[in-house]
Amino acid sequence: MATTIHCKSTMLRTAFAAIALAAAGSAGAIQSKYNLAPPVTAIARDIHWLHWMMLIICGVIFVAVFGVMFYSIWAHRKSKGAQPADFHESTKVEVVWTVIPFLIVIGMALPATKTVVAMKDTTNADLTIKVTGYQWKWGYDYLKGEGEGISFMSRLATPREQIEGRQAKGEHYLLEVDNELVVPVGKKVRVLTTAADVVHSWWIPAFGTKQDAIPGFIRDTWFRADKTGVYRGQCVELCGKEHGFMPIVVRVVSQEDYTKWVGEKKKQLAALADDPNRPWTLAELKARGEKVYAANCVACHQANGKGAPPAFPALDGSPLVLGPKEKQIDIVLNGVVKDGKPTAMAAFGKQLNDVEIAAVITFTRNNWGNQTGDAVQPAEVKALRK
């Protein structure tokens, strides 16, 4: 029994795949403008053929039903002298067109069932990565498997100038990030999703993998990419102002390249671990702070520091930025909480280290019209962490 079903479904698959290929032929194997992204996982391939199956079955029924209707429009028009018949029910016919669609829809759902079960099976993963959605970037933590301990943030790399039309748009406009997620080819990757603020959703179309990232909860999904390459997607759950600007890029590499990447990344992360205990110069802090600002603050507070009041206050000339350091450090560390609720000013304490926070505060206090001359030391930030 099981084998016959399997045989049938294989035959069906072949038939649908042939039609799919024929239809996709003209579009080529690159990103289609008409159809689903070319699949690179077994799940995505299943989705692809399920979609073709549905399209063809629905198309056939549609043509049949509306063939009848248009025939009627053509043949039974009053202007051609059609006299109305007087039938208005037929139990037999009505039972038939209730039972047959019932069987058809069950027949559609059955092949999908296997895929649903497969999509949910996150056991025996080679690599486990936690994905955290932030407003508006992604955090990746390699939790288990080769590369364990690697952890970084991934933000939109498209410059603001391109978005605002002051510069020509690049090939991967809005689909490029500063730090790509790197995974080995052919390995089962379990993705744990969660979020720090609101619901986000992590999606790579070519993998057929989409999972909401829910604050306070962990959900999981998985993929096993069987072709090396760079695969791009976007956040697909409305998460506020910059929802359209938090892409996801996954680079699938060979096992050797992956091992190499893990080695390099670990070295790089070690070097990056800033030393908060040594004193930093004003110039060092300002240079570093400018980068931190561009990556974390510019979307709301703007490059000119004027913000977009009232939701996103100006920093240029802000009494808070020009006031005592401790207050500003506290706000960057812990965010702004109004009436017991977090606001758009998130707590950066967990996302940025002491050096980054000290640097960005120094930058805001010594940029635009603000010329306090203060250098906020990483040690001061460290001291104020709760």
Binding site: D86, F87, E94, V198, G208, K241
Partner: protein, 531 residues
């Protein structure tokens, strides 16, 4: 309701039995089902224009990649308010307007059961609309969270969110009061001999819709109230840090949200079920199975809500249950489509504007039904969830479905309501322009979704540019075509040809057979005699 109307009124409004009020006060104090129906219909048209302008702002921004017209914050406010206004301000009140005008006339009653309540149900609406619009002018602006108002993003919003929540409370109250009125009218005020199974199908679909409203609207009110207390009173229904769950909000919202789809669709089915037989000159095929199918759809609509949430990470059994339950809805919906086609089969068809819109409805709504079936399968939905494919799908259901049905209804009943004919040539123009521009706007959005464009984004990768341009052009064409509709209606009211007593040869419900044209101010002072 003092004086008795014993003569047939013209369409002019110089009556002397509106409690003595004239001008604006007449409309504010009216308890007449026809006046109130008219108010609902005009209100919904105004909201349709407001929501339409918002849609055009969205499409203008999406004409090209990059940020040109609005900033992302305002863009989010536009998508949110466009959705809320179209669903709650335009489509729902339009069909309540039809219910007010038609139900008493169709069942042989003098008016709605609760005439004063009826007045109040309507006059709640402008205040709700005002609150929604007002939210644009408070600090922080209108909420930019999508019409689904998902937590916890709602907690980050400004006071505009609270105004929206109160607006939804008021809209819900209005809907519930209206529904109670409709249920009471249909169950108690039918003319002798008008058994339930003899009622025009439009009354049946509204009876069932009214029950859906009474069951679903309080759930929405609960969801937004919990949002309100999470925002201001320290509760944590949707906040994990206090033991709550953001996904709980989605469950509650969609428990309302899925029946809401049928709250919009069923009255549309009702209108279509009146129009198609009239222009086929043949009774509706399978009347009884239409009634059963409507009831089946209504019941099923309460057990499929989580098919809007396949990506939140439900257990596999949950996903399978909701997938199979959802595919089942295709069965009664299919029965309806087959019955409509069978009604046309071997009829004597003519194609005046109402029939054109009904056929347009049938054709495009069925497409929306099929894409719904595609989306019912969990694996495909996970791929397409929150993409433009879904946007295309529900606009086929809401615009080509509900809106086209409303147009069919207006053209169909306008002669009965006003005693004037609309301009048939212009009506046909309106249909064809709407049909063509609708498809230019929304058909290509299927491609966008399949190719991976998320919904609710103000800017997009370059590969989506072509379809977005086409869609935006279509949207402006569609929007402008609706000004033609306004012109046609105004022209009919002001200077339309006088309508014959029975403008549609095949129409056979009571308002056509037992009432003069235009219909008198009070429908049936004495109950009609039915065989």
């Amino acid at each position: 309701m003092s004086a008795v109307a014993d003569h047939v009124h013209g369409h002019g409004h110089a009556h002397d039995h509106h409690g003595g009020y004239r001008g604006v006060m007449r409309w504010i104090t009216t308890t007449n089902h026809k006046d109130i129906g008219t108010l609902y219909l005009w209100f919904s048209f105004v909201m349709f224009m407001v929501g339409g302008v918002m849609a055009l702002v969205i499409r203008a921004e999406l004409f090209s990649p990059g940020l040109q017209v609005v900033d992302p914050d305002f863009f989010n406010q536009m998508t949110t308010m466009h959705g809320l206004i179209m669903v709650f301000g335009a489509i729902m009140p339009a069909f309540v307007g039809f219910a007010n005008w038609q139900i008493p006339m169709m069942i042989g009653a003098p008016d709605m059961a609760f005439a004063r309540l009826n007045n109040w149900s309507f006059w709640l609406l402008p205040f709700a609309a005002l609150l929604l619009i007002l939210s644009f002018f408070v600090p922080g602006g209108a909420p930019g969270v999508g019409w689904t108002l998902y937590a916890p993003l709602t907690v980050q919003m400004g006071i505009g969110m609270d105004l929206t929540i109160f607006a939804i409370h008021i809209l819900g109250m209005s809907s519930i009061l209206g529904s109670i009125n409709i249920i009471t009218t249909i169950l108690n005020m039918r003319a002798p001999g008008m058994t339930l199974m003899k009622m025009p199908l439009f009354c049946w679909t509204w009876l069932i819709t009214a029950y859906l409203l009474v069951a679903a609207m309080p759930v929405l009110a609960g969801a937004v109230t919990m949002t309100l207390t999470d925002r201001h009173f320290g509760t944590t229904f949707f906040n994990a840090a206090g033991g709550g769950d953001p996904v709980l909000y989605q469950h509650i919202f969609w428990f309302f949200g899925h029946p809401e789809v049928y709250i919009i669709a069923l009255p549309a089915f009702g209108v279509i079920s009146q129009v198609i037989p009239a222009f086929s000159r043949k009774p509706l095929f399978g009347y009884a199975s239409m009634v059963y199918a409507t009831a089946a759809i209504a019941i099923l609509s309460f057990i499929v809500w989580a098919h809007h949430m396949y990506t939140v990470g439900m257990p596999v059994t949950g996903q399978l249950f909701f997938m199979y339950a959802t595919t089942l809805i295709a069965v009664p919906t299919g029965v309806k489509v087959f019955n409509w086609v069978a009604t046309m089969w071997r009829g004597s068809l003519t194609f005046e504007t109402p029939m054109l819109f009904a056929i347009g409805f049938l054709f495009l709504f069925t497409m929306g039904g099929f894409t719904g079936l595609v989306l019912s399968l969990v694996p495909i939905d996970i791929q397409l969830h929150d993409t433009y494919y879904v946007v295309a799908h529900f606009h086929y259901v809401m615009v080509a479905g509900a809106l086209f049905a409303a147009f069919a209804g207006v053209y169909f009943w306008l002669p009965k309501w006003t005693g004037r004919m609309y301009d048939e040539t212009l009506g046909k123009w309106h249909f064809w322009l709407s049909m063509i521009f609708f498809n230019i706007t929304f058909f290509v959005q299927h491609f966008l979704g399949l190719a991976g464009m998320p919904r609710r984004i103000p800017d997009y990768p370059l590969m989506f540019e072509t379809w977005n341009k086409i869609s935006s052009i279509g949207a402006f064409g569609f929007g402008l075509s609706q000004l033609l509709f306004l012109y046609i209606v105004l022209k009919a009211i002001r200077s339309g040809e006088k309508a014959p007593e029975k403008p549609w040869e095949g129409a056979d419900s009571l308002e056509w057979t037992h009432l003069p044209t235009p219909a008198p101010y009070h429908s049936f002072e004495t109950a009609p005699v039915l065989k």
